[in-house]
């Protein structure tokens, strides 16, 4: 018998949740440092490299923000889906399809002017990503096929599809055998914000955030989506079109991830190549949960996780830490934050204090 038991709180912890978050982050960092020490690397030096690599200079901050763009867009959609208890693990594949869709627009119509080309690329990316996400949603609503596994399998398939394209039909003949498409014409490249290395995708993020906020809080459908988080039956009783909402939210999710794929190919690499697939779609899940599925909090959470990625890249360069270290940290953060949320609703009570008054009453 343990000496403590969990008791439900009268009212949820308000400010304490910030400290829970800090404690969870601290615990994850401590475990990660211990792992570094196991392999004989100096943990404290690693922490300072991690910090300086991500925020140390303006250059580093730019890197962080650049990586935050795709993570933010993917996470925004994932969070809305998770709110409905629709487990879309497929942002990674939808991101890949978005990149493919955007590239298709460039390769099919290379001569378009930028004002036409860029919106068209965005549209194709959103459509491709959205359709890729609607497949598992449709299977779920029509046949009750578990969407967790189908979205995940579509990740593998989507990435392999991208690989096939750049190794095969879309390969640049002058790439010396490297798997990549031709470089995009200047009209198909999302430009940099003057005076920085940041690109206009940042503005897309801002627009998406505002639109999502208005959608969730000012429209009937947004309200219904939030209400559907209670499950299928309550939604049915309230006469909400549950199945349609699932399809819509998944499509939205895929479209946002697709846009992220478009921005990454167009603004960062300037061509389609397999190296754009670095797991932003999975990081987006960690971010969504870290932000407790609140669109407002996703912004800073994606900057945080992007910073972690940049920091780990620096660790790779300076201390030869394997790239997988980032995965360990993300997994630990997700796990500790998840466990920490327990304390928002529960507290532990020792059994001794429970038993003491009873004894007094006996005697």
């Amino acid at each position: 018998m343990p000496f403590w038991k969990a008791v439900k709180r009268e009212e949820p912890l308000r400010w304490g949740s910030f400290f829970i978050f800090l404690a969870a982050m601290g615990l994850s960092l401590a475990i990660s440092c211990a792992l570094l020490a196991v392999q004989g690397r100096p943990p404290l030096a690693a922490l300072s490299i991690l910090w300086n690599g991500a925020f140390g200079q303006w250059y580093a901050v730019e890197d962080t923000l650049l990586k935050a763009v795709p993570i933010f867009l993917c996470s925004l959609g994932v969070a809305v889906a998770f709110r409905m208890q629709v487990w879309n693990i497929g942002a990674e594949g939808q991101f890949a399809l978005g990149a493919v869709g955007a590239t298709w627009a460039v390769l099919a119509m290379p001569g378009l002017p930028a004002w036409l080309m860029l919106p068209l690329m965005g549209l194709c990316a959103a459509a491709a990503g959205g359709l890729w996400a609607v497949i598992p949603a449709w299977l779920r609503t029509r046949l009750k096929v578990n969407e967790i596994i189908t979205t995940l399998m579509l990740n593998y398939i989507g990435i392999l599809f991208l690989d096939w394209l750049v190794y095969g039909p879309w390969k640049d003949p002058s790439s010396f055998g490297f798997p990549m498409t031709r470089e995009f014409p200047p009209a198909a490249v999302v430009g940099a914000i003057p005076g920085s290395r940041l690109h206009w995708g940042l503005a897309v993020c801002l627009a998406a955030a505002v639109a999502m906020h208005l959608f969730l809080n000012r429209t009937r459908m947004g309200y219904e989506i939030k209400a559907c988080g209670q499950g299928r039956n309550p939604a049915r009783y309230a006469r909400m079109p549950y199945n349609f909402l699932v399809l819509f939210v998944m499509g939205l999710c895929g479209a946002l991830a697709g846009l992220a794929g478009f921005l990454e190919t167009s603004a960062v690499t300037g061509r389609l190549q397999p190296s754009i697939m670095v797991g932003y779609g999975y990081t987006a899940i960690v971010v969504a949960w870290l932000a407790r599925l609140k669109p407002g909090a996703i912004a800073w959470a994606s900057v945080l996780l992007a910073a972690l990625r940049v920091g780990v890249e620096n660790l790779q360069l300076d201390l030869q830490v394997p790239a997988a270290f980032g995965g360990i940290m993300e997994g630990l953060i997700l796990l500790t934050v998840l466990a920490g949320q327990f304390f928002r609703n529960y507290r532990f009570k020792t059994r001794r204090t429970d038993a003491a008054p009873a004894k007094e009453a006996e005697s």
Binding site: K144, I148, I149, L152, V321, A324, I328, L338, Q341
Partner: protein
Amino acid sequence: MNAEFLIPLLAAAVQSGTPILFATLGEMFTEKAGVLNLGVEGMMMVGALAAFTTSLATGSPWTGLVAGGLAAAALGCLHGLACLTFQGNQVVSGLALTILGTGLANYLGTPYIGQTAPGFMALPVPGLSQIPVLGRVLFSQDALVYLSFALPGLFWLFWQRTRWGMACTAAGEHPAAAEAAGLNPVALRWAAIAAGGFLVGLGGAYLSLAYTHLWTNGMSSGRGWIAVALVIFAFWRPGRAVFGAYLFGGVMAFQLRLQASGTNLPSSLLLMLPYALTVGVLLFSAMRGQGGSSDAPEALGINVEPRE
């Protein structure tokens, strides 16, 4: 397609289906008690690495095998901590476990890339291996394959005929009723997570000690997720899991052979096969089970809340 092609293919199907079978049975064991653990992929990876390094250090693949099982069970216990103790969402916790486990194995395994460890060798069963076709397909394998033959039957007996097995099922179907009957559903779920995790770890160990004898990062490549899908495909029945696992083993073996034969088909498209088949298999079971997935444990994925 002649016997010279088909018999080695079937033997390879059994071999590459075996790790999936271990993982599927492990996940099934956990799910039967009501805990959905999506960390199978991560646990397989950690099991594979622990088995590999232990076998390398001790020279004994059997010690490695046990270490692989224990390591995966230990990782699984984090899932128990997050969901059974801290009431976390089982889907999210499982995903975290996969991210963490894959990261851990690739991080700690990087120094071992390309090394080989003592593993399990083919061990033809005297007599049985002389049977014309079956002998080469089923009885010229390694010891772990023979172990996997015994498991589905044992599991069936466990769930149908033993007190403990029924208690586990009760914890998965209706934990409140189980508690009213004097059982401790949380303790049963802990046991199911640990035992199921051990089996998943054996699947991982099979990958690094029998399927190959060397370490490569990311070696489970989605097999853990296939196992999660196969539990649904098998309708939580151990016998059907065997069929599913060998089906996938067959597709994987076939795809490897096709690649080795120098076909014109691009490898990226061939590699899609198992993943596409996973979607297909889920579709198939959804159509078969129309009218509700009543085969799933009733309380699967739902936490047991602490009482006041």
